[in-house]
């Protein structure tokens, strides 16, 4: 008996340690980003400049005179805690703030309308069964599984045909009709017991009432989790704006972040930290929906 207990304890300790190591390694980049955002630009150049050295040459072939360490010197604790990165980003870079709003302008309509569309689609998939529906749903899933790059060219061509290239619609429209949330919500709605809908019908409810009064309230959790997932997905998009929007003024922050190494290394960490704030807040807000929604879709029967 005792030996068994000890064995269980040891097993627990080992498992916890392993989990801890994983957790730390996942969190490390985030912690590094936040910690380094308090460094001064020069310090960052000194520690990580070697990575970006090919960009540090001026047009005269003259080397930057700043000291740059020969190896990347990963540091968690700044030599001098400074807010200069933040002040540069927030006070001296109007472009940065505008790009932040670009992100917001692109992502918020996508999230809102995608949920509306997806709810309607998912309800239809639940309510009306048949062969055609199965085929359409299969196409949806197939589309969802394809990487974005595959649909990129058709997307571009369609946008060109619609004359919405270089406008935000070229991002927002494809975003609204994305299949992912349709799939997730359909999967969940199918788990709503038939008896509930039958009962509603018996009470004299029509389809609209069943949809609004029964389905949507039951789907609150999945809607929230889908919203969070979609938000994070589109908040981090890079390819769509890069390809659809040639005007850099309309690019969201995510594009800028992807290009950060070309000249703005000193600000990268502060920029990234601020960029992290909205997803973190949203995640914290809908944490339990997200966990529930994903676990339901993972196969728990309703």
């Amino acid at each position: 008996m005792k030996r068994k207990k000890v064995r269980i304890t040891i097993k627990k300790v080992i498992l916890t340690l392993v989990a801890l190591i994983f957790a730390i390694s996942f969190l490390l980049p985030t912690i590094l980003t936040i910690a380094n955002s308090f460094m001064s630009s020069t310090e960052i150049n000194t520690n990580y400049g070697v990575i970006f050295n090919q960009y540090k040459e001026t047009s005269y072939g003259e080397r930057n005179t700043d000291y740059v360490a020969e190896k990347v010197n990963l540091k968690f604790i700044p030599d001098m805690v400074e807010l200069s990165q933040y002040s540069t980003v927030l006070l001296k870079s109007p472009e940065y703030l505008l790009k932040f709003w670009n992100s917001v302008i692109l992502v918020v309509p996508i999230v809102v309308f995608q949920i509306f569309i997806a709810l309607g689609a998912a309800y239809s998939f639940m309510r009306f069964r048949g062969r055609i529906r199965e085929i359409i749903f299969f196409v949806y899933v197939a589309l969802m599984l394809m990487p974005y790059q595959v649909t990129l060219v058709p997307n571009y061509l369609v946008a060109d045909w619609l004359h919405i290239l270089d406008t935000r619609w070229s991002i927002i429209l494809p975003g609204i009709f994305a299949p992912f949330s349709v799939y997730l919500l359909t999967k969940y709605m199918r788990r709503i017991p038939e008896s509930l809908i039958e009962a509603a019908k018996l009470d004299g409810a029509n389809e609209w009432q069943i949809f609004t009064k029964v389905c949507i309230p039951l789907c609150k959790g999945p809607i929230a989790s889908v919203a969070i997932l979609v938000f994070i997905d589109y908040w981090n998009m890079v390819e769509q704006p890069l390809i659809m929007l040639s005007d850099a003024d309309k690019h969201p922050l995510s594009v800028f972040l992807s290009q950060i190494n070309s000249g703005e290394v000193g600000l990268a960490f502060a920029v990234a930290t601020i960029y992290m704030v909205p997803p973190i807040l949203i995640f914290l807000y809908g944490e339990e929906y997200l966990v529930d929604g994903i676990s339901y879709s993972g196969g728990v029967k309703g």
């Binding site: 932040f100 709003w101 807000y285």
Partner: protein, 526 residues
């Protein structure tokens, strides 16, 4: 559950705060940037030539000129030359109207006036003091009188004192005599009372019938009679004495009245004090008059002296005026002005019919025999680069027919702190009035980096320029300042050739809205 909703509440608040903060920052972003970043103006670095040459231009003049003037006011009849004409010595320049020399008339009038006033000034009367002397004499007499009055008053004073004591004595005498009269009177009265009593008793006796009473009365009468009889002699005597005493009193009273009248009379005369004051006043008045006379005499002496000087001056004036008049008379018959030297007329200041005044320049003649010069104004700094005798290049004449050398460098009288006037001596085929451009000084040379002068700054470490570094970022261009130490190799009015950390196509900062430091982020002026 409550904890959960509380947490959500906090997150909601945080999200709102974050978004609002971002909104506000976005709204004010340009404002904040404009406030926090200095604004700079830049100019590109070029290759080019910089020379320490001084450049300037001016018009050709002759080395010296003379002004044509005339003595006396005249009316011009004809102007025979105009600006630019070449004249020879003896050429007639102007002719005048005849006989209208108002200057001479005026001068003659002035002379007459001067002479008249001189004559008048000589006529002035000598100083006269009769009036003052008479006053002094009078004052002296007054003083004398006052002194006499004083003496008199002194005497009067003494007499008054005596009279007063006498009057007092007389009063005493009268009082004593009156007392005597009173005592005698009382004696006489006593005796008379006795007599009266006796007569009454006699009357009673005559009327009395009663024996005893008669007897008693008789005895009383006899007694009284006896007393009266005994006193009778005394009574008589007393009566006589009384009369005498009364007479005496009257006499003494008369004397007293007399004395008192005298005192009153004497008291009415002026007192000694008054007399003394009067004397003092008179003496003062006399002194004042004497002093006044003295002062007046002194003043008159001074006036006389200055008058003498005035006269001398007036005499001189008259002589001068006489000379002038003579001169004017001599020139009165001059009807034309001739050129005194060969040259070129550069200015004519009058036209036909003008009234010209004496010594006003009618025309300027540049003397051709003296050679040609050009005056050029330069700054003081430029003037330092030039030396007298330096060969100057004439830049707007391409052949070698004209040469110039620096003749003199003088301060500009109109602006002595900042500019200098350089005079070039020009030889060769030039004309008066032609504009020549000169350059003088070191030869210019080529420099790899030429920057505007205002881009070159200096501090304790030496001279430097601030270069604008452009960093292309995904957010747009960022401009920062980089310091480059340089050595200024040559500089002229506007730019400097430098060597050091500056290369062609660099942008150097010429102006900034705030002091700049190495590494500072800046924005470009729009």
């Amino acid at each position: 559950m409550e904890k959960e909703s509380n947490r959500k509440h906090i997150i909601k608040k945080a999200a709102v705060i974050f978004l609002v903060a971002m909104l506000i920052l976005t709204f004010f972003s340009n404002t904040i940037m404009n406030y926090s970043l200095p604004e700079v103006a830049t100019e590109p670095v070029t290759t080019g030539t910089v020379s320490n040459k001084v450049r300037g231009q001016g018009t050709v003049e002759t080395n010296s000129d003379c002004e044509v003037t005339v003595s006396g006011t005249r009316v011009i009849k004809e102007v025979k030359v105009e600006a630019g004409d070449e004249v020879k010595k003896g050429d007639v320049l102007f002719t005048f109207e005849e006989g209208e020399n108002s200057e001479l008339d005026e001068a003659q009038n002035t002379l007459d006036d001067l002479e008249l006033s001189y004559a008048k000034s000589l006529l002035k009367s000598a100083p006269d003091y009769t009036e003052e002397n008479i006053s002094i004499k009078d004052a002296k007499e007054d003083l004398k009188d006052a002194v006499k009055a004083q003496e008199k008053a002194q005497k009067n004073d003494k007499a008054l004192k005596t009279a007063k004591s006498e009057a007092a004595q007389a009063k005493n005498d009268v009082t004593a005599a009156q007392a005597n009269v009173d005592s005698l009177q009382s004696r006489v009265d006593t005796y008379e009372t006795e007599n009266t009593t006796l007569e009454e008793l006699q009357g009673k006796l005559d009327k009395a019938t009663d024996e005893s009473k008669i007897n008693s009365l008789k005895s009383q009468i006899s007694q009284l009679q006896a007393l009266v009889d005994s006193h009778d002699a005394d009574y008589q005597q007393a009566k006589r004495d009384l009369d005498a005493a009364k007479k005496n009193v009257d006499k003494l009273t008369a004397i007293q009245t007399d004395k008192e009248a005298k005192v009153t009379e004497l008291s009415a005369n002026p007192t000694l004090e008054d007399a003394k004051t009067a004397v003092k006043e008179k003496r003062k008045a006399l002194d004042a008059l004497v002093r006044g006379l003295k002062t007046k005499k002194k003043e008159d002496a001074l006036t006389a002296e200055s008058d003498a000087l005035d006269n001398e001056a007036a005499q001189k004036n008259i002589e001068e005026q006489k000379e002038k008049v003579d001169k004017l008379k001599a020139s009165d018959d001059m009807t034309e002005v001739k050129a005194t030297e060969d040259g070129i007329v550069s200015e004519v200041n009058c036209k036909e019919g003008d009234n010209v005044t004496a010594d006003a320049p009618l025309a300027k003649i540049q003397l051709s025999s003296s050679g040609y010069i050009v005056k050029v104004t330069v700054t003081k700094a430029q003037a330092k680069l030039i030396r007298t005798g330096d060969e100057a290049t004439v830049e707007n004449i391409w052949d070698d027919s004209v040469s110039a050398t620096v003749k003199s460098i003088r301060a500009d009288t109109e602006n002595p702190n900042q500019s200098m006037i350089v005079t070039f001596e020009v030889k060769g085929d030039v004309n008066v009035g032609q504009t020549l451009a000169f350059s003088v000084g070191e030869r210019s040379s080529q420099y790899d980096a030429v920057v505007p002068n205002n881009a070159v700054r200096e501090d304790s470490k030496g001279k430097f320029v601030l270069i604008l570094k452009v960093k292309g970022t995904p957010l747009g261009n960022r401009y920062t300042v980089k310091r480059a130490d340089v050595e200024v190799q040559a500089s002229d009015d506007t730019s400097s050739g430098v060597s050091g950390g500056v290369y062609e196509y660099d942008n150097v900062i010429t102006n900034s809205s705030k002091p700049l430091e190495e590494g500072m982020q800046v924005r470009l002026v729009e």
